[in-house]
């Protein structure tokens, strides 16, 4: 909106509301950040104050231990693999849904969109049994493949919408120049769809990054644990050591917040188009 700014008198109450809401969000996080620099004694005696003295061991010990880096690495690997697979599989399917007419197309497409409406929790138990029979427990694929499967609906819907905006002339021209459907898809459509691919990738990364229920049941072996499992486990292990838990929570927030700052635009466009263009 490019209209004139509000007069200070009218803007003031609005700023007051925004600052109040902003504080409600920032203060708990800040409590965590500063709490991580305190010891437990300071946490009870001066919850609001600055740490005095600043205790850095909580953070340095976490950053120096595999208990943080291993789950971080697992989270990254699983998020990247899930994202790559879900975007590839969805782009291929969305290409067909967007540009070919065939019998049963709408039926299959509807099936995918119906998947969008179902809570993941509904499937967790039979999914676990299935993964056990397939020997995929304590195996990263046991988390990656289901995440891909459940990520398909929203990814396909968004990509199909985008592929439809590319005029048929482009494909006709490519076909005349001897391009096969696969060649068109790979060398022309995907490069043109880069913004949409970025959008769905960010959605997939965030979904994988925050997933808790599935890795919780699939990974028994701590060496596979992802960050949410690490946080949950750490909390149980150091139950009385609030300052240390706060430090771990804060350190675990950093990757997600960094991604957010870098990719906020893609996240917003993905969520809004995913919600309204289904």
């Amino acid at each position: 909106m490019s209209g004139p700014r509000l007069s200070p008198l009218r803007a003031l109450p609005l700023h007051a509301i925004c600052v109040a809401v902003g504080l409600a969000i920032v203060v708990p996080v800040l409590f965590g950040v500063l709490g991580g620099f305190k010891d437990n004694g300071q946490l009870t005696t001066s919850p609001f104050g600055m740490p005095a003295p600043w205790v850095t061991e909580n953070y340095t010990e976490i950053l120096g231990s595999a208990g943080f880096w291993l789950p971080l690495g697992n989270s990254i690997l699983i998020a990247l693999a899930s994202t790559l697979l879900v975007v590839m599989a969805s782009a291929m399917a969305a290409f067909v849904f967007a540009r070919y007419a065939f019998r049963g197309r709408e039926l299959i497409f509807t099936l995918f969109t119906v998947g969008l409406m179902f809570p993941f929790a509904v499937a967790i138990l039979p999914l676990y049994i299935l993964l056990r029979e397939l020997g995929l427990l304590d195996n990263p694929l046991g988390v990656i493949l289901p995440q891909v499967a459940f990520g398909l609906p929203v990814t396909i819907i968004i990509l199909r919408g985008f592929f439809r905006t590319i005029p048929p002339d482009v494909e006709e021209a490519a076909t005349l120049d001897g391009c096969t459907p696969f060649g068109f898809f790979w060398r022309i459509l995907l490069p043109m769809a880069r913004p949409a691919l970025a959008t769905v990738s960010v959605l997939a990364v965030v979904a994988s990054w925050n997933n808790f229920m599935l890795p919780l049941v699939v990974f028994n072996d701590p060496s596979f644990w992802t960050l949410p499992l690490g946080v949950n486990q750490f909390r149980g292990q150091y139950a009385a050591d609030t300052a240390r838990i706060l430090a771990y929570v804060v350190v675990s927030m950093i990757p997600a917040l960094a991604l957010y700052v870098m990719a906020e635009r893609q996240l917003v466009s993905g969520l809004t188009s995913g919600a309204t263009k289904g």
């Binding site: 909106m1 209209g3 803007a11 609005l14 925004c18 809401v21 902003g22 409600a24 969000i25 920032v26 203060v27 708990p28 409590f31 965590g32 709490g35 437990n40 009870t44 919850p47 609001f48 599989a89 291929m92 399917a93 067909v96 540009r99 070919y100 007419a101 065939f102 099936l111 409406m117 179902f118 809570p119 509904v122 499937a123 967790i124 138990l125 039979p126 999914l127 676990y128 049994i129 299935l130 499967a149 398909l152 048929p168 006709e172 076909t175 005349l176 925050n210 808790f212 946080v231 949950n232 909390r235 706060l246 929570v249 927030m253 997600a256 917040l257 969520l271 809004t272 919600a275 289904g278």
Partner: protein, 326 residues
């Protein structure tokens, strides 16, 4: 270039129309050979890991089964479902879910809407406000939950320290059965209101400015503009946000698991937590499957009814367009 004009069919490259039957058949076969490999990965994954588990869940819900050793054998028909109807915890889950949805619609969503409209004003720093309001959405429920167990801790927690300034001390936010659900609602809202706000902001920006400008020109008050223009035109977005909020309440798990585990005495338990307890802690897999199937049916009935009676009016609705053939 004098290439022969290509018939512009809707369905992209179906090939020229005037061909012999034989080559038409060949063209169709070639097209099928192109389509199948493109669709196959998605179909296999979706069929095998989304649809199959749901069917499997329906099957195992008809057995008494501890979940071990191959497939279940002790067929009990609908017994698990009968038991479910008399299960106070499960009935309680439904009530608590309803409370969360109602609270969300009455409190969280209006706040999100208000903030969205506020951030739609030409206000300085609104980009920063938006960035902050939406940030909790990217934090996982686990991280949010663990952070808030500390923030709400009765002894050293931030909230109680604030309350102590006003002379109220030692409140048990998560350990008091009469209060825990409300506390849970606030934590969930803390994380998710920004998401709904973002939806409303996007919806608000789709309303042509001419409409509000014309109304202003005609001397309409801010309230009148909100009542007669903004709110009705945001209708589709609001209806979708209510839908998503409800589905979210049905499957709420991570936050509850981390904050309270469903306690004290089931006071914050949700369907997903009950399902998890029976399926993964108590090894009553048949019964837990019945909970899964019931959750599935609740979602399905809700989605269909909502689509039929609420979203139907929307030309730009979410789920409505799913089956829309064009």
């Amino acid at each position: 270039m004098d290439a022969t004009p290509i018939p512009r069919s809707v369905s992209a490259p179906t090939g020229p129309a005037a061909l012999s039957p034989g080559s038409q058949r060949r063209a169709r076969a070639r097209r099928r050979n192109t389509l199948i490999p493109f669709l196959l990965p998605a179909l296999l994954l979706f069929g095998g890991l989304v649809l199959l588990p749901i069917l499997l869940g329906v099957y195992t819900s008809l057995f008494k089964w501890n979940g071990f050793g191959g497939m279940p054998t002790q067929f009990v028909g609908l017994d698990n479902f009968v038991r479910l109807l008399g299960d106070d915890v499960f009935i309680g889950d439904l009530k608590r879910g309803l409370v969360l949805v109602v609270l969300s619609v009455l409190v969280q969503l209006p706040v999100a809407l208000g903030l969205a409209l506020l951030l739609n004003q030409p206000l300085r720093f609104r980009g920063i406000y938006r960035l902050i309001f939406f940030a909790p959405y990217v934090l996982s429920e686990v991280i949010t939950g663990v952070l808030f167990t500390m923030v709400l801790s009765p002894t050293s927690g931030l909230v109680n320290q604030i309350f102590e300034v006003f002379g109220v001390s030692g409140q048990a936010w998560l350990a008091d059965p009469s209060r825990v659900l409300l506390t849970m609602f606030f934590v969930v809202s803390w994380k998710y209101f920004g998401f709904h706000m973002i939806l409303y902001l996007a919806g608000r920006q789709d309303i042509p400015p001419e409409l509000t400008e014309a109304a202003m020109m005609d001397g309409a008050s801010t309230w009148q503009i909100f009542r007669s223009i903004t709110l009705p035109l945001l209708g589709p977005t609001i209806r979708i946000s209510v839908f998503l909020s409800t589905i979210g309440a049905i499957q709420l798990f991570d936050m509850v698991w981390v904050l309270t585990g469903g306690g004290p005495i089931h006071a914050s338990e949700t369907m997903a937590v009950t399902l998890f307890q029976y399926g993964f802690k108590r090894y009553e897999v048949g019964y837990a499957s019945a909970i899964s199937v019931t959750m599935f049916l609740i979602s399905l009935v809700f989605a269909l009814l909502y689509q039929r009676f609420v979203l139907r009016r929307d030309t730009e609705g979410a789920v409505t367009r799913a089956g829309d053939i064009r």
